[in-house]
Every structure is written in structure tokens, then in C-alpha cells.
């Protein structure tokens, strides 16, 4: 019996048990949809929706996950901490890009090399971040998310556009990209949640 490798396996299983219900994908997706709406429509009110959605996580865990797979408490894995760091990184990049978008909208001159390849730069940046997240956290579906984001931006690049309009700087509004990504997360989250509920029927402890 190799204690260290067994502990490593247990640590991974604990983390997997936490993410298999799809709630993080579903709520994260809804939050991204709202963030996309903020960027697209400039309606700051959607920020409150993000806060409201995030606040539902503990409630839904209590109502859906714990009665099916049991209750656990503790900041127990390196991967869980990695997920938190990854989320912070992703949100920081989104905020940075949104601010960058504001700068562009204000008409500040941007070097031609950046403005001509903006969509591809942003697309590759997002893909690298998501893939880094997949490596850090060990969540395999993040590789698929990274791939889909890259395809999305390649599609964006291939569209006809007029660069003089600030809104089309990324060939589509950044908000649209974020909303498409959010929708993708929501769909994955719903599928995972349904699968989780079917696989783990309610059971009362005796």
C-alpha cells in the first residue's frame, strides 16, 4: 500500500465529487451570460444578477448535491484552491478586456498590429487561460471549453467587419463572445446536473 499515492487519489476523488454535479458550470454560465449582457448593453444592473446567482451556490448544493452524495466540509484540495485562483484570473482578464473595450470606444489610437489582429489575440489569450485552468484543476471539460472558444474566435475573425466602428473591434461585441461562452457553460451544466440527479437518486440516511 503506497500511502502517498493513495492519498493523492483520494484528494482527486474528493475534488471530482465536488464538481460532478454541474452546478459550478451552470451558475458560472449564468454569471457569464449576465457579464456578457453588461458588456453588450452597458446595463450595470446585470452585475447584481451575477451577485444573486453566485449567492445561490450554497443553497443549491444543500438542496441538490448533499442529499444525494452526502455533505462534506473543508478547503481540502490543492485543486479546489487552484479553481479559485483560476476563476479570479479569468474574471480579471474579462475586466481588463472590458476596460480595454472602453478605451477603444473612447477613440484612443491603438497600434495597427493589435487592432487588425485583436480578435485572434483575445481568442488565443482566452484559450490559453482556459487550457491553463484545465491543467491546474484537472477538470477535463475545460479543454473542450478552450477548444470551443478558439473556434468561436476563428469564426469571429472570418466575418466581414468594419474596424472603424468600435463595437466591431473584435468583429463581434466582446459581450456576444462572453454570452455564447456562458450559454455553452449553462448547457453543459444542465446536462451534467440531469445526469447527476439520474445517477444519484435521493436517499434518506438510516
Amino acid at each position: 500500500m503506497n500511502v502517498e499515492s493513495d492519498l493523492k487519489k483520494t484528494r482527486y476523488n474528493l475534488f471530482k465529487a465536488e464538481t460532478k454535479d454541474g452546478l459550478s458550470d451552470l451558475l458560472g454560465g449564468l454569471a457569464f451570460l449576465c457579464l456578457g449582457a453588461v458588456v453588450y448593453s452597458d446595463w450595470i444592473i446585470y452585475i447584481f444578477a451575477i451577485v444573486l446567482i453566485s449567492a445561490q451556490a450554497p443553497f443549491l448544493k444543500k438542496k441538490i448535491t448533499y442529499p444525494r452524495t452526502g455533505y462534506v466540509k473543508g478547503d481540502f484540495t490543492d485543486k479546489r484552491r487552484a479553481t479559485k485562483k483560476f476563476s479570479i484570473l479569468l474574471i480579471s482578464v474579462l475586466i481588463f478586456l472590458s476596460l480595454f473595450g472602453v478605451v477603444v470606444m473612447l477613440g484612443v489610437a491603438i497600434p495597427a498590429a493589435i487592432s487588425e489582429n485583436a480578435a485572434m489575440i483575445v481568442g488565443v489569450l482566452f484559450t490559453v487561460i482556459i487550457i491553463a485552468g484545465a491543467v491546474l484543476t484537472g477538470i477535463k471539460r475545460l479543454y473542450a471549453y478552450g477548444g470551443i472558444i478558439l473556434i468561436l474566435f476563428i469564426y469571429g475573425v472570418s466575418r466581414d467587419y468594419n474596424i472603424s466602428e468600435g463595437k466591431d473591434f473584435l468583429r463581434m461585441s466582446l459581450g456576444v463572445y462572453i454570452m455564447i461562452f456562458g450559454s455553452m457553460l449553462v448547457v453543459t451544466g444542465v446536462v451534467l446536473l440531469i445526469r447527476f440527479i439520474i445517477k444519484n437518486p435521493l436517499e434518506k440516511e438510516s
Binding site: T10, L14, Y66, G70, Y71, K73, G74, K204, E205, S206
Partner: protein, 99 residues
């Protein structure tokens, strides 16, 4: 056991109890259902192993009602944590002696 080999706690060394303790070692607390899912032990098996670990004061078992549903919360005691750390160290040293 050869004299140079270190003591391996039989209470931890049993595969089922090792599974239970390694899960509890990594979390603050978990309920019976969670432990059963993670260890893939049957209800009876898990109960009997937990009883042995509780007798040895390696785990703390708390029974409570959450919204009219009974919940058994299990956590590792300080004594259990120390014993598990000692077990890890001794296993490593013993393996080093063999290899």
C-alpha cells in the same frame, strides 16, 4: 516483524479503515452518506469500521437532525490525525528499508 522495522498501526492499515481515514484526513468533516460514496463500502461495513475507529478515539461521530432528517457527521480527532501522520511516516520508512 524484523527489529529494525517500525510499528504499523493495524487499526489504520486495514484497507477499508485506511480509505475512511484518508478521506477524513483531507476534510474537516463529512457525513455518513458522503463517506459511503467515497469509500464504496456497504452501510454495515462502514458502520462497523467507524465503530472501531471511534472506540480507538481516532474519529468523532456526531448525530444530529437537520430539517427533521438525521445526519451523522464524522470528523478525525487530533489523536487520529497524529496516528495517521505517524502511520504515513512509518510506512515510508519501512518501504525505504525494504527498497
Amino acid at each position: 516483524m524484523p527489529s529494525n522495522q517500525l510499528f504499523i498501526d493495524p487499526l489504520i492499515h486495514a484497507p477499508a479503515r485506511f480509505k475512511i481515514l484518508s478521506n477524513l484526513y483531507l476534510v474537516d468533516e463529512a457525513d455518513f452518506l458522503f463517506l459511503r460514496n467515497q469509500t464504496e463500502l456497504s452501510k454495515g461495513n462502514l458502520s462497523s469500521h467507524l465503530a472501531k475507529l471511534e472506540d480507538a478515539e481516532y474519529v468523532l461521530i456526531k448525530k444530529e437532525f437537520v430539517q427533521k432528517i438525521s445526519r451523522t457527521t464524522i470528523s478525525m480527532s487530533e489523536k487520529g490525525r497524529t496516528a495517521f501522520n505517524q502511520y504515513r511516516e512509518n510506512m515510508k520508512k519501512n518501504l525505504d528499508l525494504i527498497l
